[in-house]
Amino acid sequence: MTTTEPATRELTSPADVVAAFFEAYSRHDVETMTEMCTDNADFSYIPYEVWGKQRVLRGDGKVRTVGKVIWSGLINSFPDLFNVVHSIDANDKGDVVVMCDIGGTQQSPWGFAAPKGGRFSEPHLFIFHVDENGLIDKIKAYWNGAGINRQLGHLEVD
Protein backbone atom coordinates (compact mmCIF):
# COMPACT_ATOMS: atom_id res chain seq x y z
CA MET A 1 0.00 0.00 0.00
CA THR A 2 1.26 3.39 -0.87
CA THR A 3 0.48 6.30 1.29
CA THR A 4 0.61 9.76 -0.09
CA GLU A 5 1.18 12.78 1.98
CA PRO A 6 -1.57 15.31 1.49
CA ALA A 7 -0.42 18.19 -0.63
CA THR A 8 0.60 21.04 1.59
CA ARG A 9 1.08 24.55 0.51
CA GLU A 10 4.37 26.02 1.59
CA LEU A 11 3.48 29.21 3.37
CA THR A 12 5.67 32.16 2.64
CA SER A 13 5.36 35.79 3.65
CA PRO A 14 2.81 38.00 1.87
CA ALA A 15 5.68 39.94 0.30
CA ASP A 16 7.16 36.68 -1.08
CA VAL A 17 3.77 35.65 -2.46
CA VAL A 18 3.43 38.95 -4.30
CA ALA A 19 7.02 38.78 -5.57
CA ALA A 20 6.22 35.33 -6.99
CA PHE A 21 3.08 36.76 -8.57
CA PHE A 22 5.15 39.34 -10.47
CA GLU A 23 7.60 36.63 -11.52
CA ALA A 24 4.68 34.70 -13.00
CA TYR A 25 3.51 37.91 -14.69
CA SER A 26 7.00 38.31 -16.20
CA ARG A 27 6.68 34.79 -17.64
CA HIS A 28 3.20 35.69 -18.96
CA ASP A 29 1.94 32.76 -16.90
CA VAL A 30 -1.65 33.87 -16.38
CA GLU A 31 -2.71 30.46 -15.07
CA THR A 32 -0.19 30.62 -12.22
CA MET A 33 -1.11 34.23 -11.50
CA THR A 34 -4.74 33.16 -11.21
CA GLU A 35 -3.95 30.09 -9.13
CA MET A 36 -2.11 32.29 -6.66
CA CYS A 37 -5.43 33.98 -5.91
CA THR A 38 -8.47 32.76 -4.00
CA ASP A 39 -11.43 31.59 -6.09
CA ASN A 40 -13.32 34.76 -5.19
CA ALA A 41 -10.43 37.24 -5.16
CA ASP A 42 -11.45 40.85 -5.80
CA PHE A 43 -9.93 42.67 -8.73
CA SER A 44 -9.91 46.40 -9.45
CA TYR A 45 -7.84 48.16 -12.10
CA ILE A 46 -8.99 51.69 -11.25
CA PRO A 47 -7.97 53.52 -14.48
CA TYR A 48 -9.45 50.81 -16.71
CA GLU A 49 -12.54 52.41 -18.26
CA VAL A 50 -13.86 51.74 -21.75
CA TRP A 51 -16.64 54.19 -22.55
CA GLY A 52 -19.20 52.83 -25.00
CA LYS A 53 -22.27 54.63 -26.26
CA GLN A 54 -24.57 53.00 -23.72
CA ARG A 55 -22.35 51.79 -20.92
CA VAL A 56 -18.93 52.02 -19.35
CA LEU A 57 -16.85 48.88 -19.04
CA ARG A 58 -14.71 49.03 -15.91
CA GLY A 59 -11.86 46.90 -14.65
CA ASP A 60 -13.77 45.90 -11.53
CA GLY A 61 -14.86 42.44 -10.51
CA LYS A 62 -13.11 39.20 -9.70
CA VAL A 63 -9.67 37.95 -10.65
CA ARG A 64 -11.08 34.83 -12.32
CA THR A 65 -13.66 36.63 -14.44
CA VAL A 66 -12.22 40.11 -15.07
CA GLY A 67 -8.56 40.06 -14.06
CA LYS A 68 -7.64 36.97 -16.05
CA VAL A 69 -9.27 38.40 -19.18
CA ILE A 70 -7.46 41.74 -18.83
CA TRP A 71 -4.08 40.08 -18.20
CA SER A 72 -4.52 37.77 -21.20
CA GLY A 73 -5.64 40.69 -23.38
CA LEU A 74 -2.67 42.81 -22.33
CA ILE A 75 -0.20 40.02 -23.08
CA ASN A 76 -1.87 39.44 -26.45
CA SER A 77 -1.66 43.13 -27.37
CA PHE A 78 1.83 43.59 -25.93
CA PRO A 79 3.65 40.27 -26.52
CA ASP A 80 6.81 41.54 -24.82
CA LEU A 81 4.91 42.83 -21.77
CA PHE A 82 7.31 43.30 -18.85
CA ASN A 83 7.33 44.47 -15.28
CA VAL A 84 10.10 45.98 -13.19
CA VAL A 85 9.38 45.89 -9.46
CA HIS A 86 10.93 48.79 -7.53
CA SER A 87 9.63 48.15 -4.03
CA ILE A 88 7.46 45.72 -2.08
CA ASP A 89 6.19 46.88 1.33
CA ALA A 90 4.10 44.62 3.52
CA ASN A 91 2.61 44.44 7.00
CA ASP A 92 1.57 41.55 9.24
CA LYS A 93 -2.07 41.95 8.24
CA GLY A 94 -1.38 40.68 4.72
CA ASP A 95 -1.37 44.08 3.00
CA VAL A 96 1.29 44.43 0.30
CA VAL A 97 2.03 47.59 -1.70
CA VAL A 98 4.15 47.39 -4.84
CA MET A 99 5.71 50.16 -6.90
CA CYS A 100 6.63 48.93 -10.36
CA ASP A 101 6.85 49.85 -14.01
CA ILE A 102 4.83 47.93 -16.56
CA GLY A 103 5.47 48.23 -20.25
CA GLY A 104 5.60 46.63 -23.65
CA THR A 105 5.38 47.08 -27.41
CA GLN A 106 1.92 47.20 -28.96
CA GLN A 107 1.20 44.59 -31.63
CA SER A 108 -2.60 44.56 -31.66
CA PRO A 109 -5.43 46.89 -30.53
CA TRP A 110 -5.75 47.68 -26.84
CA GLY A 111 -8.98 49.42 -25.91
CA PHE A 112 -9.43 52.17 -28.48
CA ALA A 113 -5.68 52.38 -29.14
CA ALA A 114 -4.84 51.09 -32.60
CA PRO A 115 -1.49 49.32 -32.92
CA LYS A 116 1.27 51.53 -34.28
CA GLY A 117 4.16 49.56 -32.88
CA GLY A 118 4.44 52.02 -30.02
CA ARG A 119 6.24 51.11 -26.82
CA PHE A 120 5.28 52.20 -23.33
CA SER A 121 6.64 51.96 -19.82
CA GLU A 122 4.51 53.47 -17.07
CA PRO A 123 4.77 53.56 -13.26
CA HIS A 124 2.09 51.49 -11.50
CA LEU A 125 1.06 51.11 -7.87
CA PHE A 126 -0.44 47.77 -6.87
CA ILE A 127 -2.21 47.06 -3.58
CA PHE A 128 -2.64 43.39 -2.66
CA HIS A 129 -4.08 41.53 0.27
CA VAL A 130 -2.79 38.04 1.01
CA ASP A 131 -4.88 35.77 3.22
CA GLU A 132 -3.69 33.50 6.03
CA ASN A 133 -3.31 30.61 3.54
CA GLY A 134 -0.87 32.56 1.39
CA LEU A 135 -3.41 33.27 -1.34
CA ILE A 136 -4.07 36.70 -2.81
CA ASP A 137 -7.65 37.76 -2.14
CA LYS A 138 -7.51 41.34 -3.43
CA ILE A 139 -5.66 43.11 -6.25
CA LYS A 140 -5.98 46.81 -6.96
CA ALA A 141 -3.88 48.93 -9.29
CA TYR A 142 -3.43 52.59 -10.16
CA TRP A 143 -1.59 54.16 -13.07
CA ASN A 144 -1.81 57.08 -15.45
CA GLY A 145 -3.62 55.88 -18.57
CA ALA A 146 -2.88 59.15 -20.36
CA GLY A 147 0.83 58.43 -19.98
CA ILE A 148 0.40 55.07 -21.70
CA ASN A 149 -1.82 56.49 -24.45
CA ARG A 150 0.63 59.30 -25.21
CA GLN A 151 3.48 56.80 -25.53
CA LEU A 152 1.37 54.64 -27.86
CA GLY A 153 0.41 57.66 -29.99
CA HIS A 154 -3.27 57.43 -29.04
CA LEU A 155 -4.23 61.02 -28.26
CA GLU A 156 -8.02 60.93 -28.17
CA VAL A 157 -9.52 61.09 -24.69
CA ASP A 158 -12.11 58.37 -25.17
Binding site: I46, P47, E49, W51, S87, D89, A90, N91, D95, V96, V97, M99, E122, P123, H124, L125, I127, K140, Y142, W143, N144, G145, A146, G147, N149, R150, L155, E156, V157, D158
Partner: protein, 159 residues
Protein backbone atom coordinates in the same frame (compact mmCIF):
# COMPACT_ATOMS: atom_id res chain seq x y z
CA UNK B 1 14.32 69.81 49.28
CA UNK B 2 14.50 67.42 46.37
CA UNK B 3 17.43 65.09 46.57
CA UNK B 4 17.12 63.94 43.00
CA UNK B 5 16.41 66.31 40.24
CA UNK B 6 16.40 64.98 36.73
CA UNK B 7 16.57 67.44 33.93
CA UNK B 8 13.73 66.84 31.56
CA UNK B 9 14.90 66.55 27.95
CA UNK B 10 12.21 67.17 25.37
CA UNK B 11 11.24 63.99 23.54
CA UNK B 12 12.06 65.62 20.21
CA UNK B 13 15.64 66.23 21.37
CA UNK B 14 15.92 62.60 22.41
CA UNK B 15 14.94 61.57 18.92
CA UNK B 16 11.72 60.05 20.23
CA UNK B 17 8.65 60.68 18.17
CA UNK B 18 5.13 60.26 19.45
CA UNK B 19 3.40 59.74 16.16
CA UNK B 20 3.11 56.68 13.98
CA UNK B 21 3.68 56.96 10.22
CA UNK B 22 -0.08 56.57 9.70
CA UNK B 23 -0.81 59.43 12.12
CA UNK B 24 1.62 61.68 10.28
CA UNK B 25 -0.01 60.87 6.96
CA UNK B 26 -3.49 61.34 8.40
CA UNK B 27 -2.45 64.79 9.63
CA UNK B 28 -1.44 65.62 6.05
CA UNK B 29 -4.66 64.21 4.61
CA UNK B 30 -6.91 65.84 7.19
CA UNK B 31 -5.40 69.24 6.38
CA UNK B 32 -5.77 68.52 2.65
CA UNK B 33 -9.43 67.66 3.30
CA UNK B 34 -9.81 71.08 4.91
CA UNK B 35 -8.05 72.68 1.90
CA UNK B 36 -5.39 73.96 4.32
CA UNK B 37 -2.24 73.61 2.21
CA UNK B 38 0.14 75.11 4.77
CA UNK B 39 -1.10 72.79 7.52
CA UNK B 40 -0.65 69.81 5.19
CA UNK B 41 2.89 70.96 4.36
CA UNK B 42 3.74 71.30 8.06
CA UNK B 43 4.31 67.53 8.26
CA UNK B 44 6.30 67.38 5.01
CA UNK B 45 10.07 67.50 5.23
CA UNK B 46 11.73 70.28 3.26
CA UNK B 47 13.89 67.66 1.54
CA UNK B 48 10.89 65.55 0.48
CA UNK B 49 11.17 63.65 -2.80
CA UNK B 50 8.01 64.00 -4.86
CA UNK B 51 6.78 62.09 -7.90
CA UNK B 52 3.35 63.06 -9.23
CA UNK B 53 3.15 60.86 -12.29
CA UNK B 54 -0.04 62.26 -13.93
CA UNK B 55 1.40 65.79 -13.75
CA UNK B 56 4.76 64.57 -15.03
CA UNK B 57 6.50 65.68 -11.83
CA UNK B 58 9.59 63.47 -11.52
CA UNK B 59 12.31 63.89 -8.92
CA UNK B 60 10.39 66.88 -7.58
CA UNK B 61 10.56 68.47 -4.18
CA UNK B 62 8.79 70.56 -1.58
CA UNK B 63 7.79 73.31 -4.01
CA UNK B 64 6.23 70.76 -6.34
CA UNK B 65 3.94 69.32 -3.68
CA UNK B 66 3.04 72.84 -2.56
CA UNK B 67 2.14 73.76 -6.15
CA UNK B 68 0.15 70.56 -6.69
CA UNK B 69 -1.92 71.05 -3.54
CA UNK B 70 -2.44 74.77 -4.17
CA UNK B 71 -3.50 74.18 -7.78
CA UNK B 72 -6.15 71.62 -6.88
CA UNK B 73 -7.69 73.54 -3.96
CA UNK B 74 -7.75 76.67 -6.15
CA UNK B 75 -9.25 75.01 -9.22
CA UNK B 76 -11.78 73.05 -7.16
CA UNK B 77 -12.85 75.34 -4.29
CA UNK B 78 -15.56 72.88 -3.19
CA UNK B 79 -12.98 70.08 -3.10
CA UNK B 80 -14.28 67.01 -1.30
CA UNK B 81 -11.60 64.51 -0.41
CA UNK B 82 -12.78 61.06 0.66
CA UNK B 83 -10.17 58.93 2.42
CA UNK B 84 -11.16 55.41 1.36
CA UNK B 85 -8.35 53.47 2.96
CA UNK B 86 -5.01 54.02 4.67
CA UNK B 87 -2.53 51.14 4.77
CA UNK B 88 0.58 51.28 6.94
CA UNK B 89 3.43 49.01 5.91
CA UNK B 90 6.31 50.06 8.13
CA UNK B 91 7.53 53.53 7.21
CA UNK B 92 5.45 53.46 4.03
CA UNK B 93 1.82 54.56 4.22
CA UNK B 94 -0.49 54.24 1.23
CA UNK B 95 -3.74 56.18 1.07
CA UNK B 96 -6.56 55.53 -1.39
CA UNK B 97 -8.55 58.69 -2.01
CA UNK B 98 -11.45 59.92 -4.06
CA UNK B 99 -11.08 63.53 -5.13
CA UNK B 100 -14.31 65.29 -6.00
CA UNK B 101 -15.15 68.90 -6.83
CA UNK B 102 -16.49 71.36 -9.35
CA UNK B 103 -13.98 73.06 -11.58
CA UNK B 104 -13.82 76.83 -11.05
CA UNK B 105 -10.47 77.63 -12.66
CA UNK B 106 -8.14 76.11 -15.24
CA UNK B 107 -6.43 72.97 -14.00
CA UNK B 108 -3.56 70.94 -15.48
CA UNK B 109 -4.04 72.74 -18.78
CA UNK B 110 -7.80 72.06 -18.89
CA UNK B 111 -9.94 75.15 -19.44
CA UNK B 112 -12.61 75.68 -16.82
CA UNK B 113 -15.98 74.42 -18.05
CA UNK B 114 -17.42 74.06 -14.54
CA UNK B 115 -17.42 70.28 -14.85
CA UNK B 116 -17.65 67.95 -11.89
CA UNK B 117 -14.57 65.91 -11.12
CA UNK B 118 -14.39 62.59 -9.35
CA UNK B 119 -11.14 60.67 -9.63
CA UNK B 120 -9.74 57.83 -7.55
CA UNK B 121 -6.15 58.33 -6.52
CA UNK B 122 -3.42 56.51 -4.59
CA UNK B 123 -0.82 58.43 -2.59
CA UNK B 124 2.19 56.49 -1.31
CA UNK B 125 4.04 58.28 1.49
CA UNK B 126 7.39 57.49 3.06
CA UNK B 127 7.67 58.73 6.63
CA UNK B 128 10.80 59.33 8.68
CA UNK B 129 10.19 60.25 12.31
CA UNK B 130 7.18 62.52 12.22
CA UNK B 131 7.78 63.96 8.76
CA UNK B 132 6.92 62.84 5.25
CA UNK B 133 10.10 62.40 3.20
CA UNK B 134 8.67 60.80 0.07
CA UNK B 135 5.43 61.17 -1.89
CA UNK B 136 4.44 59.15 -4.96
CA UNK B 137 1.07 60.05 -6.45
CA UNK B 138 -0.96 57.99 -8.90
CA UNK B 139 -4.17 58.75 -10.74
CA UNK B 140 -5.34 58.42 -14.32
CA UNK B 141 -5.10 61.74 -16.12
CA UNK B 142 -7.21 60.27 -18.91
CA UNK B 143 -10.07 59.85 -16.42
CA UNK B 144 -9.51 63.37 -15.11
CA UNK B 145 -9.51 64.91 -18.59
CA UNK B 146 -12.58 62.89 -19.58
CA UNK B 147 -14.50 64.34 -16.63
CA UNK B 148 -13.32 67.86 -17.51
CA UNK B 149 -14.50 67.43 -21.14
CA UNK B 150 -11.03 67.50 -22.68
CA UNK B 151 -11.11 65.76 -26.07
CA UNK B 152 -7.47 65.23 -26.97
CA UNK B 153 -4.23 64.84 -25.04
CA UNK B 154 -2.37 67.06 -27.53
CA UNK B 155 -5.03 69.81 -27.41
CA UNK B 156 -5.90 69.97 -23.73
CA UNK B 157 -6.81 73.65 -23.71
CA UNK B 158 -9.11 73.41 -26.74
CA UNK B 159 -12.81 72.95 -25.98
Amino acid sequence: MKLFKRKSIPREEQGIVNTTPEQTVRAFLNAFQLRDVEAALSVVDKSVRVEIFPLDVREGGFDDIRTALTDIVTAFPDLHLVIKDVIETGSVVTAELKVEGTQAADYAGAVNQEKHLDVDQAWRFTVDGDHIVGIHVYWCQNQLYRRLAVKRLDQIAIV
